[in-house]
C-alpha cells in the first residue's frame, strides 16, 4: 500500500518538475511555493478576508458603527433589538452593536502586539541559545521551563490584579512574558537543525563568521517554523485576553473589550441572552479566523505535512 503509493508518486515527479525544490530547500523557493499554496487554499482566503475586515474596523470602527460605544441610556437597559439598534442594549443600556464593533480594536491590538512581542523576544533568545549553545542555552532552557510551569491564567490573575492602568499594554506585556518560551523552543530547535545542514557546515569550514552565518544561512531556515507557531498563537492570545478581561484582570473599562462585555452579559444571561450572543460570537469568529489562518500557513510552510 505504502510502496504502491510511493511508486505512483515517484513517477509524477519528473526531475525539474514544479515541486523540484532545490537542495536543502533554498528559502526563496520555500516562500514562493508557500505563497502559491496559500493562494489556492480556500481556508486561507476566507480567514484572510475576515482578518482584513477585522483589522479595518478596528482601525476605523466608525465605518460601520455610527454610534458611541460609551453613550448609554440606563432606561433602555437589557432591551431587545429596535430600529437602529439591531443587537439591542446591554445592562447599562449601551448599544450592543456599537460595542461589539468597537471591541474588535482591543482584541486585534492585543493579539497582534503580543504575538509580535513574543515572536521577536522568543526567536531572539531561542535563536541565540540554539546557535551558541553552552551555558547560555542551559540557562535559557531552565528559565523557559519555569515559565512553562506557571499556569497562564493563574499567572495573569496574580500579576495583573495589581495593575491599575486601563490601557492594553500591561496585558500585552504579560502575554509576551508567558508566550516567548513557546516561540523560543521552536526557534532554538530549528536553529540547531539549520546549523547542522551540510551547506552551513561547509560555510563554517570556509571561514564564514558567526554573524554572517546566523543572518545568511541559519535565520532564513528558522523563520518559517516561528511564523507558523506565531500565527497559531495569535488566535489563542486573543482568547486569553478575553478570558483575563472576563476574570476582571485584563482590560478595564472604559476600554471596550468583548471579554468585559461577556462577563457583564453573563450576569443576566437568564433575562437577556442576546447580550451574550454578539460579543461572544464576534470573539469566537475572530479567534476562529486566526486559527484557520495559522492552520493554512502551517500547511503551506511545513513541507513535511504535504
Amino acid at each position: 500500500m505504502d510502496l504502491a503509493m510511493s511508486e505512483a508518486e515517484t513517477l509524477e515527479k519528473t526531475p525539474g518538475g514544479p515541486l523540484g525544490t532545490g537542495p536543502a530547500g533554498k528559502p526563496r523557493s520555500l516562500w514562493s511555493d508557500a505563497w502559491f499554496q496559500l493562494r489556492r487554499n480556500p481556508v486561507f482566503l476566507v480567514s484572510g478576508l475576515l482578518i482584513l475586515f477585522l483589522v479595518v474596523i478596528s482601525i476605523w470602527p466608525s465605518l460601520i458603527a455610527s454610534g458611541d460605544p460609551l453613550e448609554c441610556h440606563l432606561s433602555k437597559a437589557q432591551e431587545g433589538p429596535e430600529p437602529g439598534h439591531p443587537f439591542g442594549y446591554d445592562s447599562q443600556g449601551c448599544d450592543v452593536y456599537t460595542r461589539t464593533v468597537y471591541g474588535a480594536r482591543a482584541s486585534i491590538t492585543v493579539g497582534v502586539c503580543a504575538t509580535l512581542g513574543a515572536a521577536l523576544l522568543g526567536s531572539l533568545l531561542g535563536g541565540l541559545a540554539g546557535f551558541f549553545g553552552g551555558w547560555w542555552d542551559a540557562l535559557l532552557s531552565r528559565i523557559a521551563d519555569i515559565f512553562f510551569g506557571i499556569p497562564v491564567i493563574l499567572g495573569g490573575l496574580v500579576l495583573l490584579s495589581v495593575v491599575t492602568s486601563t490601557t492594553v499594554w500591561p496585558v500585552v506585556g504579560f502575554i509576551v512574558l508567558l508566550g516567548w518560551p513557546q516561540v523560543s523552543r521552536i526557534a532554538r530547535g530549528s536553529v540547531i537543525t539549520a546549523k547542522q545542514n551540510d551547506y552551513v557546515q561547509a560555510a563554517r569550514a570556509l571561514g564564514a563568521g558567526n554573524g554572517r552565518m546566523l543572518l545568511r544561512h541559519v535565520a532564513p531556515n528558522a523563520v518559517a517554523p516561528v511564523i507558523v507557531v506565531a500565527t497559531i498563537a495569535l488566535g489563542t492570545y486573543i482568547a486569553l485576553e478575553a478570558t483575563l478581561s472576563f476574570l476582571g484582570v485584563g482590560l478595564r473599562p472604559p476600554t471596550v473589550s468583548w471579554g468585559i462585555d461577556i462577563a457583564n452579559a453573563a450576569q443576566s444571561i437568564r433575562n437577556a441572552p442576546h447580550m451574550l450572543l454578539w460579543p461572544a460570537g464576534a470573539l469566537s469568529v475572530t479567534v476562529l479566523a486566526f486559527i484557520m489562518l495559522g492552520d493554512a500557513v502551517r500547511d503551506a510552510l511545513d513541507p513535511k505535512l504535504r
Binding site: 505504502d2 531552565r142 519555569i146 510551569g149 499556569p151 490573575l157 472576563f246 469566537s284
Partner: protein
C-alpha cells in the same frame, strides 16, 4: 530507569524553586497583604508593624521565601488572613478540583480519541471534514463563553441539571463542568489523534498486520492505536496541569469550590498565604504529571530507554 527518575526529580528542583519563587515575589512584593488584612480601614501603624514582624514581612524577600519553604516542608502552609489554616483549605479544595480534572480527562480520552480515530481512518471524507470543522469551532470558542452557554442551555432553558454545583461536588454534578473544562483540550486531542492515526495507517507495520490476515478490529486496536497514542499521551500529561490551572474559569462559572475558586478569591482579597500555598501544590502536581508522562512514554514505546 531508577536513575532516570532520580535525575528527573533533581532537574525539577530548580524549576520548582524558580516558579514558586516567581509566584511568591508576585504575590508578596506586588500586593500589600497587611493592608488587605484590614480591608478598607487604615491600619494603626504599630499594629501593622507588629503583624509584619509576625508574618516575617519585614524581612528581605528571599528570606521570607526561605522561611516560607521551610515551613511548607514541615507541613505548615500558614494561616489565611481570615484565620483558617491553609492546609484545611487545601484539603477541602484539591479533592474537588481533582475530581473535576478526572472527569475532564476521561471525557478528553473517550471522546477525543474516538473522534480522532474515526476521522483519521476516513481522512478526507465527509466525516473527517465535519470533525475537523467541529474541532476548529470548539477551539475558537473560549471556555468562559461555552461554559455560560452550556450552563444556560442545560441548566436553565432545558432544566436538565442543576446550574451550579453543590459544595460536596459529587461526580454526577461535575459532568457538565467537566465537559466545559475539557472542550478545548478535547478538540486538540481529536486533531492530534487524527494526524497520528492518518500517519500511522500508512506505516509498513500496519501493512504487515493486514498481510498477516488479522481482523480489521485487531489491526486498529492492537497495532494502530498503540503506536498512534504515544503523542496523545504526552499531550494529556502536560494538559493535566493546564486543566487544573484553567479550572479557575470553569469553577467560577459553576460555582465549584475548588482550587481555582480559592486562588481567585485569594487574589481578589490579596490573601497571600492561600495563593502561594495553592500555587505551590499546583506546581508540584504539574511537575509530577510531566514526570509520569515521561515514564508512561517508556511503557508505551519500548524503543525509548532511559539512562
Amino acid at each position: 530507569m531508577g536513575r532516570y527518575v532520580i535525575r528527573r526529580l533533581l532537574q525539577m528542583i530548580p524549576v520548582f524553586i524558580g516558579s514558586t519563587f516567581l509566584i511568591f515575589v508576585m504575590v508578596y512584593a506586588l500586593g500589600d497583604p497587611v493592608a488587605a488584612l484590614f480591608g478598607d480601614k487604615a491600619p494603626d501603624p504599630a499594629t501593622a508593624a507588629r503583624i509584619r514582624h509576625e508574618l516575617y514581612l519585614d524581612q528581605p524577600l528571599w528570606k521570607q521565601y526561605l522561611h516560607y519553604m521551610g515551613q511548607i516542608f514541615r507541613g505548615d502552609f500558614g494561616t489565611a488572613f481570615n484565620g483558617q489554616k491553609v492546609t484545611e483549605l487545601l484539603a477541602g479544595a484539591y479533592p474537588v478540583t481533582l475530581r473535576l480534572t478526572l472527569v475532564a480527562v476521561v471525557i478528553e480520552l473517550l471522546v477525543g480519541i474516538t473522534l480522532g480515530v474515526v476521522s483519521g481512518l476516513r481522512r478526507g471524507r465527509s466525516v473527517d471534514t465535519s470533525v475537523l470543522v467541529l474541532t476548529l469551532i470548539v477551539i475558537s470558542v473560549p471556555t468562559f463563553v461555552s461554559g455560560y452557554v452550556l450552563q444556560f442551555l442545560f441548566g436553565v432553558k432545558w432544566d436538565l441539571i442543576r446550574p451550579t454545583v453543590s459544595p460536596d461536588a459529587p461526580f454526577s454534578e461535575l459532568i457538565l463542568p467537566g465537559v466545559v473544562l475539557a472542550l478545548v483540550s478535547l478538540a486538540y486531542v481529536t486533531r492530534l489523534t487524527r494526524t497520528s492515526i492518518a500517519e500511522n495507517v500508512r506505516a509498513d507495520y500496519v501493512r504487515t498486520a493486514v498481510a498477516k490476515g488479522l481482523p480489521r478490529r485487531r489491526i486498529i486496536t492492537r497495532h494502530l492505536l498503540r503506536n498512534s497514542l504515544i503523542p496523545v499521551v504526552t499531550f494529556i500529561g502536560t494538559d493535566i496541569g493546564a486543566l487544573m490551572g484553567g479550572a479557575i474559569v470553569t469553577e467560577k462559572i459553576f460555582n465549584i469550590h475548588g482550587v481555582g475558586y480559592q486562588i481567585y478569591q485569594g487574589i481578589l482579597r490579596n490573601n497571600a498565604p492561600t495563593v502561594v500555598g495553592f500555587v505551590t501544590i499546583l506546581v508540584i502536581v504539574f511537575l509530577l504529571a510531566n514526570l509520569l508522562v515521561d515514564l508512561l512514554y517508556a511503557v508505551l514505546d519500548p524503543r525509548i530507554r532511559y539512562a
